[in-house]
């Protein structure tokens, strides 16, 4: 009887530990910050969330007169894209697609955002294409990329809005 109780209590203890680990993993997954990364030559280092929105809505299309913005956005299902749709665009996937079709055919923009399929690809392109801006998981931003402060905060700092 004692043995059974001990086994039962150990099982319960183990289950609790597993639950704790899962909760920690889930909590960590949800608190991962998404960094706004630009090409190193881009003349911005601090943008408000409203400015980031303006850029990604295609309302601001030039960093300077000779340096157009090149939007890079992750393909559907990526967490970075979900964060962008939820916080920046405040749109569903359908609304986002409809928004860009309408934007282009209102003659407000000639090109839609370029689609990137991984954080590696986003890292490669944002450091290579002048004027490029992308959202990358903050843990995967490579040295050499320029991370922009959003509302005065860098990823990982309290008050950072993109998480």
């Amino acid at each position: 009887m004692n043995r059974d109780r001990k086994i039962a209590s150990m099982s319960l203890g183990l289950a609790c530990v597993m639950l704790g680990i899962c909760a920690t993993i889930v909590a960590q997954t949800h608190s991962i910050d998404v960094a706004v990364v630009v090409h190193p030559d881009t003349p911005v280092s601090d943008l408000s969330l409203a400015d980031v929105r303006k850029v990604f809505l295609g309302d601001r299309q030039y960093w300077t007169s000779n340096l157009p913005v090149v939007l890079l956005i992750r393909a559907p299902v990526a967490r970075e894209r979900n964060v962008v749709l939820k916080i920046i665009y405040q749109m569903s996937e359908t609304q986002f697609k409809q928004y860009w079709i309408a934007k282009i055919f209102r003659a407000e923009s000639a090109l839609a955002p370029k689609v990137v399929y991984s954080n590696d690809m986003a890292n490669d392109l944002v450091t290579a294409v002048p004027g490029a801006i992308a959202f990358i998981d903050a843990r995967e931003v490579r040295s050499g990329a320029k991370v922009v402060r959003v509302d005065g905060h860098l990823p990982g700092e309290p008050g950072y809005p993109l998480r």
Partner: protein, 428 residues
């Protein structure tokens, strides 16, 4: 019995957890959970280090690029192919992904099929083909782009082909973009936002005040236009200013083949999109022109318009007002036609947000005698009070069904006409 046994087992477990004297401890030779987590952290750190080493060449290149003296701006023109040529180690598939070739033509088509049935005397119910529309957008270089729109409209014996928009635009920067061609006149919101292609708009039809083929507002404009943002911080101001031919000999058309007089029409539109209220747009527009209904008659036309828009879909609110003022230059008589509409829609959250019910009220009041509208035997602008209620169902991201009930009267003392309308609209 089974329930009692289960309850007892659960009770024993809880009691054991609460009162056990000997907390289960890990055998000394087995690592604890804390130690395992620390080990995972160390391994993650190691993986990151290895990955960093693997990517070092790219990082070094980027760092050296950052240290380079700023290249002349011309070299940063968005000829992405040349910009990328320095990065030989980047996979070619990634290069192709972002490379823009000029011209980069994109074509989208729009179509719709409609069904209507009304109690208007003499009207027939039945299906009809909506406009078949092709949109073209092409970047000609980093700063020059072209936009075109052609429509095919079903007529009793043929399809009428029309160039609805044809615009070549030069972007100097965000504050100044200059274009030439044929536009949808930037008066108010709807006319400059929803073009041909019923899929783009929530409802089946456009409001009467901006309907295609209507005369109240000159829907098209041939000429030149400057547009851009106005530096205004969080206020988000923007503008459009245009100079063009104005109305053609048929008031509902623009003077594509040339102006009917030597006077240019002008249009100015200013709007605000405050950053603190994302989704809100407030705008005002003015339009001026000179018209001649018959040789020897001259009218000044002055249109003032305002709009308040909440473009998010929870809810979506569109409200526009326009006043068209005509002044007979011979008699100094003035005529004002007032119009507005309010449209409210709400994208329902369930079923993947596919349902969007909507309601619109619209109103046009014109003088009993208006020499410009009554120039031909059939008045080109009606005195309208109407409303509609309907629902849009997005079958996919690119196709929708819409169903609408409308009730409107289109002249003073005329009876209301009721009708049911259905549409499937799509883009391809």
């Amino acid at each position: 019995m089974c329930f009692r046994l289960s309850s007892m087992f659960l009770f024993l477990l809880l009691a054991d957890l609460a009162f056990t004297q000997e907390p289960p401890s890990s055998p000394p030779n087995q690592p604890s959970v804390k130690e395992l987590l620390e080990r995972i952290d160390r391994l993650e750190k190691r993986v990151n280090e290895l990955e960093a080493n693997e990517h070092k060449p790219i990082a070094i290149r980027a760092a050296s690029a950052a240290q380079r003296p700023a290249a002349p701006m011309q070299s940063q023109q968005p000829d992405t192919a040349s910009a990328l040529s320095a990065h030989e180690q980047m996979p070619s598939s990634e290069l192709q992904q972002v490379e823009t070739h000029y011209p980069s033509l994109q074509i989208h088509g729009f179509g719709d099929v409609d069904f209507s049935a009304t109690d208007h005397k003499g009207s027939n119910s039945g299906f009809n083909m909506g406009q078949f529309v092709l949109h073209f957008a092409s970047a000609l270089s980093g700063k020059v782009s072209y936009f075109g729109e052609v429509s095919f409209t079903a007529e009793p014996t043929t399809y009428e082909l029309a160039v609805e928009r044809s615009i070549v635009r030069y972007d100097y920067n965000d504050y100044f973009k200059l274009s030439f061609g044929k536009y949808h006149t930037p008066i108010g919101y709807w006319n400059a936002t929803f073009h041909h292609g019923a899929w783009l708009q929530t409802t089946i039809s456009r409001p009467e005040m901006v309907k295609f083929g209507g005369s109240l507002i000159p829907v098209h404009f041939v000429g030149a236009q400057a547009e851009g943002n106005i530096p205004s911080g969080g206020l988000g101001l923007g503008y459009n200013v245009g100079l063009g031919n104005g109305r053609g000999s048929l008031f509902s058309k623009a003077g594509d083949s040339g102006d009917v007089n030597s006077n240019r029409a002008w249009v100015a539109n200013v709007y605000a999109r405050p950053s603190r209220l994302y989704g809100l747009q407030v705008g005002g527009s003015f339009y001026g022109d000179k018209l001649s209904t018959t040789p020897g008659t001259k009218f000044n036309e002055w249109i003032s318009a305002a709009d308040v828009i909440w473009s998010k879909e929870h809810p979506e609110v569109l409200a526009e007002y326009a006043n068209v003022h005509h002044r007979d230059l011979a008699t100094s008589q003035t005529f004002n036609t007032t119009s507005y509409y309010v449209q409210v829609a709400y994208r329902l959250p369930w079923e993947a947000s596919k349902w969007k019910p909507y309601y619109r009220f619209e109103y046009i009041h014109r003088p009993g005698v208006e020499p410009v509208w009554d120039f031909s035997t059939t008045p080109s602008v009606v005195d309208l009070v109407g409303s509609l209620v309907g629902v849009r169902y997005d079958i996919t991201n690119f196709a929708a069904f819409k169903g609408e009930y409308r009730r409107a009267r289109s002249a003073v003392n005329e009876p209301n006409v009721n009708g049911a309308f259905f549409q499937t609209a799509f883009t391809f």
